[in-house]
Symmetry: C3
Subunit: 127 residues, 3 copies
Amino acid sequence: MDRKVFRSGPYAELIAQAVQVGDILYLSGQVGADEHGGAPESVVEQTILAYQHVAAVLAEFGATMDNVVEETVFVTDMPSVMAQVQEVFGARAAAYGGRPDVTQTLVGVSALVDPAFKIEIKCTAHL
Amino acid sequence: MDRKVFRSGPYAELIAQAVQVGDILYLSGQVGADEHGGAPESVVEQTILAYQHVAAVLAEFGATMDNVVEETVFVTDMPSVMAQVQEVFGARAAAYGGRPDVTQTLVGVSALVDPAFKIEIKCTAHL
Amino acid sequence: MDRKVFRSGPYAELIAQAVQVGDILYLSGQVGADEHGGAPESVVEQTILAYQHVAAVLAEFGATMDNVVEETVFVTDMPSVMAQVQEVFGARAAAYGGRPDVTQTLVGVSALVDPAFKIEIKCTAHL
């Protein structure tokens, strides 16, 4: 089946940031990297950035956060995320512009691709 | 695309337990919580409860375990799960009512949202 | 909805290696097991084997690596993977026969089903 592909960033030659087939859009996990490739210390700030990257990828397909249907969220320090759960989910609600009609599975992982990253958000959207 | 959404439980304002778009139903990861929000000590008992929660969510969409096509299973103590692999997969087969025609990816994670939880089951179903 | 199912290997009675519904093909996570059920020491060699298993499962549905649209990759030792990132992604590119139009989410996990396994690759394909 035909697919539309979007590439960007330092790994553009290795992976696609998103692939659309039919009306399903698969996104690679997005991290809270800033414009210099680093990341803020705060997992809340990383969450804000990660959703900004999700929105930017969606925009390449003419889509918005309203198109996201499911999320898997990987975090490196669950106790710290749960200690700031209002702030983290507040950042999420702000990214969606209200109460999101989106599933979520949140798990703690031993590592992300760079030790500076504390959260990675993998989404599927329907267009 | 239009979606049907189901919310429930302590996180109802934060995440959807399931979202249907077209004939695909995405479920949030289900844990082995009991009716008081705690969880039994045994990962086998948690597995039984987690599948009960999957089935309850499916029922909201007029679906059953027969509609599940794939699972990703996150466990916090893989050696203990593998030491009871017959019991854990026995609980799974019982939940499906026989040999499930369902994929599975089973990985060990460093944490789930609450330290009491030992297993989380994320499913996709087709209606 | 009707599904086509493929089973194989030591867990054939427990899980399906792949399930097709409509034009979507869900695959169970594939590890770098050799023909004896063990695995080579090198994560690069395990990566090569894991993609061979992905390709073999796809072939059961008349599909090839060109049909894969998304990957979630679970590794047990992220620093070692990132230290050999050219080799690991080189093995991936070789498996796809060039620059893959495929998303990827790469996370570190605390365990896979057997301590000998260092990488597990979960794919979705469209036929």
